[in-house]
């Protein structure tokens, strides 16, 4: 349904600012990594912090502005908003991992994901208009559902970024390389563990996201599961990560195969999140907006 009340507020400038910051941070991280200049990566970190703040302000402002427009609602209800919320979650998650594991190399693999997401939101997000909610979306379950899902997605994005690093590092370790960028990565074993740790955060959130979605569907129209394409794709994502978790505890499925499953999992996440709206028919509202 095309919305007839379309409003664009000041929040959009903050989002564009966030996008630019993420672009700069991506470059800083990449230059820092390839030029072997941790000080530049450190700058990337600070720009990321700034981007997280700016995104936070933008989301808050958008929330306020939606009330000023008389259609007050949480800013996670259309394609644009879900993208920017996802990017914000990725930044926060990334900063957490970076701080906890004290390595500046992750940024080069994770922050570009957030940047591309913001670019996508900017160009394909329907101009960032604040659209009114149809009655089916007016529920507190919406908040719980969307937030849990996107935090899960963000964790998977971080995991997939690290999984790519793992694959590069494992190959380099196998070839006994001693020079080059990849040697600065943490050890393959540590990366393998991080791929897993990120999923350990993502999986409960995705599980909660699917359950709150089911609860909401049941409360809104009396069926908790209807094999709608979006639901089914979230189940596919969930199954891939369940396979990952069991692969991890099986001999011989550590490392490489687990990393590949993490990447496949994230690709399915993207399909679930964007592909379903772009290619498949269903109940969910993103994509129209």
């Amino acid at each position: 349904m095309e919305p007839t009340v379309a409003n664009i507020g000041y929040n959009i400038y903050f989002f564009d600012f966030t996008m630019i910051l993420l672009g700069i941070a991506s470059v800083a991280y990449l230059v820092g990594l390839y030029g072997d200049k941790p000080s530049i990566s450190r700058v990337g970190t600070w720009i990321c912090v700034l981007a997280a703040l700016s995104s936070f302000v933008a989301l808050g402002l958008r929330w306020v502005e939606s009330y000023q427009m008389g259609i007050g609602r949480i800013p996670v209800t259309n394609l644009y908003e879900s993208l920017v919320f996802f990017a914000w979650s990725v930044i926060l998650f990334h900063l957490f991992v970076e701080r906890k594991y004290e390595s500046l190399v992750f940024g080069a693999f994770v922050i570009p994901i957030a940047f591309v997401t913001m670019l996508f939101a900017h160009f394909y997000g329907g101009g960032g208009a604040i659209t009114p909610l149809n009655p089916a979306l007016q529920s507190y379950w919406l908040h719980a559902h969307v937030i849990t899902c996107f935090v899960g997605y963000a964790a998977f994005a971080v995991s997939a970024g690290i999984a790519v690093m793992y694959l590069l590092k494992a190959r380099s370790e196998a070839a006994k390389q001693t020079t080059g960028v990849i040697c600065m990565f943490p050890a393959a074993k540590a990366l393998d563990e991080l791929v897993y740790r990120a999923i350990i955060w993502g999986f409960p959130f995705l599980t909660a996201g699917i359950i709150t979605g089911a609860a909401w569907a049941n409360y809104a129209w009396g069926t908790y599961w209807s094999w709608d394409p979006k639901e089914t794709w979230s189940l596919i994502v969930w199954l891939v990560y369940a396979a990952f978790l069991h692969a991890r505890i099986t001999r011989g499925w550590h490392g490489r195969r687990a990393a590949i499953l993490s990447i496949v999992g994230f690709l399915s996440t993207i399909m679930c999140y964007l592909g379903v709206n772009l290619f498949l028919a269903g109940l969910h509202s993103y994509g129209g907006g």
């Binding site: 349904m1 919305p3 007839t4 009340v5 008389g70 259609i71 009114p132 149809n134 009655p135 089916a136 007016q138 529920s139 379950w141 350990i200 999986f203 409960p204 599980t207 909660a208 359950i211 089911a214 609860a215 049941n218 409360y219 809104a220 129209w221 009396g222 069926t223 908790y224 599961w225 094999w227 394409p229 089914t232 794709w233 189940l235 596919i236 199954l239 891939v240 369940a242 396979a243 069991h246 692969a247 505890i249 099986t250 499925w253 399915s268 379903v276 498949l280 028919a281």
Partner: protein, 460 residues
């Protein structure tokens, strides 16, 4: 340990296959891949597929139930294999875990000590009794109260925390069984239907299975009123996009209004396990206004509407189901008429025309009820989704268990600390400590170092 001979027998080979994690991973990936088909091939719409795919492909789709894939034998078969795998795996492992939990390793012998990566040793002055007491107190304060075991002249202390984390996985797996069970119960004895209920009408029979069947819900539901509110543009004019729509419903049982509620999307009405959800509406739609009388006039007449839509039907207790077949504006020059058939158990339904000009025509059927057409008018109806799902609470129990189970499995850890005290020469005591954790070893390592430090500093 599986000894060679046992593993050879076919039954054991099947069992080993059924409990294997490899099967679990394979089935998970197969289920994920198979589910993709159902999202690409629109379910329940072979007509759409016919425009996209070649005939031979459609043929294959039909043979493999691709248009109702999630209920096809092969998909349900995969689900069954998955459940079997999960059940067998649990039956295989849970007893062992229970054994480990019930009979923990309380003896901290040297071989075991060597196998731990977290361990330390030192020597202290004092007596066994004194150090047993000191170590017990210290361990209780900084970790957990230990069990004390005497073994020869040595004393072993064993303390543990978070033993429940061993069960996180099983709680998670059990939750899946719960969800399946709830879904199966819901599918077997529950029902779902859609009801287009005009303002002022009340019904007791709800169309299920796309209207092919009418279900008696056991009471009547009446639509007293219905509203739509639209979003407004900056000039205050309605935009046509609905902001909220609502119905005022009553539940009527034995002629008495039992319950009255205004429902909106996301706020349903529930009575006797049947839920009525606001789901859609129709404004100013044509409908036949029907009059229902007792042939002997023993009760006041009632009216109801038949919407002009395919499969429209209305159930009357004791009379049967009135199904709308056709409508004509001017039937044989006598004005509007509708064609209906009355479906009653054990009787062949016969189509008949009811012209509004002849309200007594239906007396010829010889039934206790006489049906007639009063006229055609525009009505507004509320679209209600009706559901009765006796399995849904089991599903929610499963979902809750799943979240709890996953949290326990991922974020809790079974942490164990052992201390061995053994007499050494010159009235001294040898102290050996060791620790192990099932997860999050880094955090445990720090904790262990702290405990060990405190123990070391104890003086006699």
């Amino acid at each position: 340990m599986v000894d060679e001979k046992r593993a050879q027998s076919p039954i054991d080979r099947v069992w080993d296959f059924l409990i294997s994690l490899k099967l679990a991973i394979t089935v998970l990936i197969l289920l994920a891949s198979a589910s993709i088909f159902g999202t690409v091939i629109e379910q329940g719409r072979p007509d759409k597929a016919a425009q996209i795919y070649e005939d031979w492909l459609i043929n294959i789709f039909n043979k493999t139930s691709m248009f109702d894939m999630y209920h096809s034998w092969w998909f349900l078969g995969l689900m069954f294999l998955f459940t079997l795998n999960l059940t067998c795996c649990t039956l295989d492992r849970l007893p062992r875990v229970l054994k480990v939990v019930r009979n923990p390793k309380t003896i901290f012998d040297e071989a075991f000590e060597k196998s731990l990566s977290l361990a330390g040793r030192w020597r202290k002055k004092g007596s066994m009794a004194e150090w047993t007491g000191k170590c017990t107190a210290a361990l209780t304060a900084s970790f957990a109260a230990p069990r004390i075991t005497n073994d020869g002249d040595a004393v072993h202390l064993y303390a543990e925390k978070g033993v429940i984390s061993r069960f996180g996985v099983y709680i998670t797996h059990l939750s899946i069984i719960f969800i399946f069970l709830g879904a199966i119960i819901g599918n077997m004895i529950g029902y779902k239907g859609f009801l287009g209920l005009p303002i002022g009408d009340s019904v007791q029979f709800v169309p299920v299975r796309n209207g092919s069947e009418l279900k008696d819900v056991g009471f009547r539901v009446r639509c007293n009123n219905f509203w739509v509110e639209y979003y407004r543009d900056q000039f205050g004019n309605p935009t046509g996009q609905p902001k909220e729509y609502a119905s005022d419903l009553s539940i009527v049982e034995n002629g008495q209004v039992i319950l009255k509620k205004k429902i909106v999307v996301n706020d349903p009405l529930r009575y006797k396990g049947v839920w009525f959800y606001q789901s859609s509406y129709g404004e100013d739609k044509p409908a036949a206004r029907m009059l229902l009388r007792r042939a002997d006039n023993s009760a006041p007449p009632e009216t109801f509407h038949l919407l002009f839509q395919r499969g429209e039907a209305y159930g009357v207790p004791g009379m049967g189901i009135v199904r709308l077949l056709d409508f004509q504006d001017n039937f044989e020059g006598k004005g509007p008429a509708i064609q209906v058939q009355i479906e009653k158990e054990g009787r062949q339904p016969v189509p008949m025309w009811l012209p509004s000009a002849d309200p007594e025509l239906d007396r010829r059927r010889g039934d206790a009820y006489v049906l007639s057409l009063q006229g055609v008018e525009q009505v507004t109806w509320t679209g209600l989704q009706v559901a009765h799902d006796p399995g849904v609470n089991i599903v929610w129990v499963g979902c809750t268990l799943m979240v709890i189970g996953i949290m326990i499995a991922f974020f809790m850890s079974h942490q164990r600390v052992w201390i061995r005290l053994s007499p050494a020469a010159e009235g001294k005591i040898d102290v050996a400590v060791g620790g192990a954790a099932t997860r999050n070893r880094l955090a445990f390592e720090k904790n262990f170092e702290k405990i060990q430090g405190e123990l070391k500093e104890l003086q006699s």
